[in-house]
Symmetry: C2
Subunit: 117 residues, 2 copies
DNA sequence: CATGATACCTTGTCTGACAAGGTTTGACCA
DNA sequence: TGGTCAAACCTTGTCAGACAAGGTATCATG
């Protein structure tokens, strides 16, 4: 059963926008990973499902922007994999986003709870 | 100085996607508001700046989806304003989103802090 | 050597944010 | 009266990014 994609409502798709990118960078800041692995790992986190059609173009953009490096590597007898790692520019961008995210998150929390009491 | 739009980096634009919609609904759940007022109120919240070019189509979509009602009303000698209020379907959608948001927020928090310790 | 799984990538479609316009209404003032 | 201004509405066109649905290459296993 190839090309399986877990469906999640339309609302969540929009939520992921502009965040998945940095989730990927955050994972890469911990260890080198390859595209397919990133898709699977994200899917294991609640609400972060993506597909390869999202991931590969995304990784391409990060690379073009100089935020990640790539290198092909073969482990054992597996087929070669293209590993991504964070550049220092990537690390800086990630750090900056962590601030943006915290502010944004707090704002949304506040606005969404306006009605409740 | 008409049509002024505060510029915020490109990253934040994507963040707002899929969230502003529910921020609007949350505000409407508290009290009726009109479009222009919503733009100004959102702008007063950190990271939620939008423009009229975003707001009016958004309100139109909410209306088409049956999530909000509208009624023109004139207060004093002001020009008439188109007030929006939440329908019960809107209230349900908002409540559902509050759950989605909480889960999503927690996931992102977790992933973003992977590297830090 | 056929099949299946892994792993890469591309094309096309759709949604929604935004810039940059435009229109209407009423207040204010000369 | 008529000109200007701001409030308030709306539309058009452009762009980015998510995703579905394909395709291709490599390797293990039967």
């Amino acid at each position: 059963m190839p090309h399986m994609t877990k469906y999640q409502g339309p609302g969540l798709t929009e939520l992921r926008r502009g965040v998945v990118e940095y989730c990927v960078m955050s994972m890469l800041s911990k260890e080198e990973m390859y595209g397919f692995q990133l898709v699977e790992t994200l899917a294991s986190h609640d609400g972060l499902v993506t597909s390869e059609g999202t991931m590969y173009p995304l990784l391409g953009r990060l690379h073009d922007a100089g935020l990640v490096n790539t290198n092909w590597r073969q482990e054992g007898s597996n087929r070669p994999r293209k590993y991504y790692s964070l550049t220092s520019a990537g690390r800086a961008a990630l750090e900056s986003f962590r601030n943006d995210w915290a502010r944004f998150r707090d704002t949304v929390d506040k606005v969404l709870s306006i009605s409740g009491e």
